[in-house]
């Protein structure tokens, strides 16, 4: 549920109001998740994991834990990349698959990440009975769900928007499909893909921490990692250990950024499509080191030569079958067959779903979920407004001072990437200590991690604001509220919307872990849809988890379509400065 603006506005599949496709896609996604969980549960009924590794609270184990957490992250990244290259390519190349895959992707990215978790845990655990591999894969899958959808979307858009002249050039010069994919389409989509990878990474950390120690009904496990460490610290009310975990995570994120993403971004810069030189070229000391060190170069050369040879080879069938003229009738026939196949699949899952829900769910459940959903919706809206009131002026003030912005921007980006759930214990401790109302104060946790998106996007917007416009405004003595309303706010609007979209998506996701929290044996709940899902997850009440997740997805999709997409379109049309 990490929405990014460029995905929301997706050109090839652009619709304002939720339509029947969305509805069907929601049905399909929810059904598949549930069936997975159900199947798993049937395979092994009551079930515990033998050989649970013990988690220690000693700070000396933290580097090891951090390493294991990072390895999970990397594994998920690789899985997401594989998914991206297959799923997005299939959607971009086949019109029929596109009809199904893209709406599906749109829904999948609106399902709360932890919503998948409760079902996939059961599935993976039952797949590898008793072994720690099950929970391990479930945790990796949780991170996968936090990144894969965005990456696939951005790659798909890249593939669909390859400039026509380059496409013609590649065909005129007889590149094979394989060569085109690696030499034109992938490079073109690369900057967007890398950027999305980096942005969804922050979501990844968040869910990794949340998914390392989880209990779904009777299944309980804790994987060695920073997340489990924090969970144990909460259980034992050890604030010092929480502090250590925060330090460990900070170091990990900074290293990850410096060693993996800075080099990637700097490297991907050469795939930028603009033919002009960039004003600021992203640099990375690691990449420079690799490029300049003779030893590393010697190691790298055969590897890169191998990759290059692979990308250069043709890999095409010697003869292509070609139709003399486009065949009209068979194509239509194929469409009909394909659509009926989809319809049959939908009817089947719909029936299965009804069968699954009827015995347990009542209209009362729906009413309860609806009420909780409204509460969470209210929270998200109020929090976004509050965060905007606070961070927009600050962001503008920072962004207009280039020196300061240079220093603040990386900090804001770091804060956005930091898994805010590590900070929850501190907040909860304070709430418990000072007897604050959980309904109000727990809400603030939802936006703890996501407000930074607003800040750093606004800073970026204010930095990019053309200085001639600013000078013009000051020479005409535009000041005070008029200056905000007529000069600055329209100027940063597109950036602000981008930030707010991400912040809102993140807050929905965070609600599941932040509306109900505990400190030792003390549990406090702020009510709301997130708390509802969390509570049902602990109880292992699958029909109600599914209901909660489905309702949340529907609210998020509607919010995207009815609020964010029109706002973004407005920003694109009216106030883009270029």
């Amino acid at each position: 549920m990490e929405q990014h603006a460029e995905i929301l506005i997706g050109k090839p599949w652009q619709r304002r109001i939720p339509g029947w496709r969305d509805f069907l896609a929601v049905l399909l996604v929810v059904a598949v998740i549930i069936l997975l969980g159900l199947g798993g549960r049937q395979m092994v009924a009551p079930f515990t994991i033998t050989q649970q590794p013990t988690i220690s609270l000693s700070p000396s184990v933290l580097p090891g834990y951090a390493l294991r957490t990072t390895m999970r992250m990397l594994a998920a990244l690789v899985a997401s990349l594989i998914f991206t290259f297959t799923y997005a390519t299939a959607a971009a190349k086949s019109r029929r698959l596109e009809m199904v895959l893209i709406p599906l992707l749109d829904v999948m990215q609106s399902v709360p990440v932890l919503g998948y978790l409760s079902f996939t845990v059961v599935f993976f655990v039952s797949l590898f009975r008793g072994s720690a591999l099950g929970p391990e894969l479930a945790a990796i899958f949780a991170i996968f769900t936090a990144q894969a959808w965005n990456m696939a979307f951005s790659f798909y858009q890249g593939l669909r928007t390859v400039p026509i002249d380059l496409d013609e050039a590649s065909r005129a010069f007889h590149l094979s499909a394989w060569q085109r994919f690696w030499r034109l389409e992938t490079p073109f989509a690369m900057p967007g893909l890398v950027w999305n990878m980096m942005m969804s990474m922050s979501g990844g950390w968040f869910f990794l921490v949340a998914s390392e120690a989880i209990s779904v009904g009777s299944i309980q496990f804790a994987l060695p990692g920073v997340g489990s460490y924090v969970a144990l610290a909460i259980e034992q009310r050890d604030l010092r250990a929480v502090g250590w975990a925060i330090v460990a995570m900070t170091v990990t994120i900074v290293l990850y950024d410096q060693l993996l993403f800075r080099p990637l971004v700097a490297w991907a810069d050469k795939f930028r499509f603009e033919q002009t030189a960039a004003a600021v070229v992203p640099r990375s000391w690691v990449l420079d080191l690799f490029r300049e060190s003779p030893l590393l170069g010697a190691i790298g050369r055969p590897v890169s030569a191998g990759i290059e040879a692979l990308a250069r080879s043709r890999f095409s069938f010697p003869r292509k079958i070609r139709w003399a003229r486009p065949l009209q009738a068979p194509q239509r026939l194929g469409d009909v067959a394909w659509l009926s196949l989809i319809a049959v699949a939908l009817v089947y899952v719909g029936w299965k779903l009804a069968q699954f829900a009827r015995p347990t769910l009542t209209w009362d459940d729906l009413a309860i979920v609806g009420r909780n959903g409204a509460l969470t919706f209210l929270r998200v809206v109020i929090l976004i407004i509050l965060a905007s009131i606070v961070w927009v002026p600050i962001g503008v003030a920072v962004g207009l001072r280039p020196r300061l912005a240079e220093k603040v921007q990386p900090v804001a980006q770091f804060l956005a990437a930091f898994p805010a759930n590590l900070l929850f214990p501190i907040a909860v401790f304070l709430i418990v200590r000072y007897q604050l109302s959980p309904k109000i104060w727990l809400s603030s946790l939802m936006i703890l991690g996501t407000q930074w998106y607003i800040l750093f996007n606004v800073i970026a917007g204010a930095t990019a604001f053309p200085s001639d416009l600013r000078e013009c405004a000051s020479s005409f003595h535009v000041r005070g509220w008029r200056w905000w309303r007529e000069v600055m706010l329209p100027g940063i609007f597109p950036y602000y919307v981008t930030g707010a979209i991400t912040a809102s998506g993140g807050s929905w996701n965070a609600s599941i872990v932040s509306e109900a929290v505990s400190w030792g044996s003390q549990h406090i709940s702020g009510l709301g849809l997130g708390a509802y899902i969390a509570e049902k997850t602990t109880a292992g009440d699958f029909p109600r988890i599914a209901l909660g997740v489905a309702v949340m997805s529907v609210i998020v999709i509607s919010m995207n379509r009815l609020i964010w997409r029109p706002l973004y379109a407005l920003a694109e049309r009216r106030t883009r400065l270029d």
Binding site: E168, R171, A172, F173, H174, Q179, R183, L184, R312, R573
Partner: protein, 428 residues
């Protein structure tokens, strides 16, 4: 190499004819020019020849065999250069060889030769974004030459370059051509620059628009290198202009009778271009009349626009095109001497009278309750007769002209047309 080709790309619904019954033959050792206004389908024709687009009917023959998909031995040079920004110069040049499965060492050697030939020494490892426009197009040429094509197709290769660079590149290419240093036997050059066609081509085909047909075939019997100041050269350029303008005038007359003019496509032109042109014509230097070939050299006007502006003025009857020259009408002279308000009034009259679609919009707005209408409505009406691209351009031009004339207002945010003063505006 012989070829007969037709094409009917279609928008929504009924097919729209972009090229109708075109037959042409490219001879050995010639540079064939394709000239026409934008929208005449000359680029489409080139892409059909390249095998990038399949013709709806008809065949393209190359070396006696029908062409399906890009044929070996045909290379294309693109208007936008179409270089891969993530590949450096030599990698871009090698691209075509990789596709042919040429061995690495051999590919490197041939690329270096092509780069030397085209004058790119020392730039092998530069990336396209580090190069100037002229250098980029040289890479485009090198990439095409390295696969040793028998036929070279050039799609307005010089039009994205500034005047001086384009001239240098043209001369360099012609030098290589006459010295027979190129493996290429024949060239097709698409251009809208008339002097360029006269300067480079041995034979020029003039395409008419809507649908694209071959309107004229003009041989250029001058030997290379040609001199722009040469009297013979000037005569040929003037002949081109008179053929093109005669066609425009004829077309207008025919449309007037057939009422097809209702949805006549308009060039994308702002009001200032028109006013500038009228003022230039009315200046003492020209006395309200000028030859197009000469006025094309006015520094304030870009060469490629002259015909479009002249035609727009012709449509609006502020000027009259005849045999390569343009003459202001009485209304045009009055316009040139009037103040802003009077000009607007005059323009309004002419717009409503001679651009029937503008009058149509006005009428619809008056009839509708609330006096406003969404632009989609008009756009789809235009699309019944024009390609989507032309319809959009035409509507945009009508909006620009209509705003100036204060006939109606257009809100880009709501995409709505509305009428400014419903009571006073009455379509004549």
């Amino acid at each position: 190499m012989r070829k007969v080709s037709k094409a009917f790309p279609r928008p929504s619904g009924e097919p729209l004819t972009a090229l109708a019954d075109i037959s042409l033959c490219l001879h050995d050792g010639e540079i064939l020019g394709l000239v026409g206004r934008s929208g005449s389908g000359k680029s489409t024709l080139l892409r059909i020849a390249a095998g990038l687009i399949e013709p709806t009917s008809g065949d393209v023959l190359y070396c006696g065999k029908p062409v399906h998909g890009p044929a070996a031995g045909i290379a294309v040079v693109f208007q936008t250069f179409a270089l891969f920004p993530w590949l450096n110069v030599i990698e871009n040049v090698e691209l075509g060889l990789d596709a042919l499965g040429v061995d690495r060492g051999e590919a490197r050697r041939r690329s270096r030769e092509a780069i030397d030939l085209i004058g790119l020494d020392g730039f092998q490892s530069a990336y396209p974004r580090e190069l100037s426009g002229g250098m980029r197009q040289r890479v485009g040429f090198a990439r095409a030459m390295v696969i040793q094509p028998t036929v070279l197709l050039m799609d307005e290769p010089f039009s994205a370059l500034d005047v001086l660079t384009a001239e240098t590149l043209r001369t360099d290419f012609i030098d290589l051509w006459i010295e027979h240093q190129l493996p290429t036997k024949s060239v097709i050059l698409v251009t809208h620059n008339i002097e360029e066609a006269a300067l480079m081509c041995d034979r020029v085909l003039v395409l008419s628009s809507h649908p694209g047909r071959i309107a004229a075939e003009i041989p250029v019997p001058l030997s290379h290198p040609r001199n722009r100041l040469d009297q013979e050269f000037r005569n040929i350029v003037e002949e081109f202009y008179s053929i093109l303008t005669a066609r425009a005038a004829e077309l207008k007359k025919a449309e007037g009778q057939l009422r097809v003019g209702f949805v006549r496509p308009l060039p994308a032109l702002g009001i200032n271009r028109l006013i500038g042109f009228i003022e230039a014509l009315a200046s003492p230097q020209h006395q309200g009349q000028a030859e197009l070939a000469k006025i094309a050299h006015l520094p304030s006007l870009q060469v490629k626009d002259v015909l479009a502006v002249a035609e727009a003025l012709h449509i609006l009857e502020f000027a009259e095109l005849q045999e390569g020259s343009i003459k202001l009408t009485a209304a045009g002279r009055v316009f040139a001497q009037s103040g802003t308000d009077e000009r607007k009034r005059l323009f309004r009259e002419h717009l409503l009278r001679f651009v029937p679609f503008a009058a149509h919009i006005c009428r619809v707005l008056q009839e509708r309750e609330g006096h406003s209408a969404p632009s989609v409505r008009f756009k789809s009406e235009l699309e019944d007769h024009l390609s989507a691209n032309d319809a959009e351009k035409t509507l945009e031009t009508i909006i620009r002209w209509g705003r100036y004339a204060e006939v109606f207002d257009y809100d880009d945010e709501t995409r709505n047309f509305s009428i400014i003063r419903p009571a006073e505006q009455a379509a004549p």
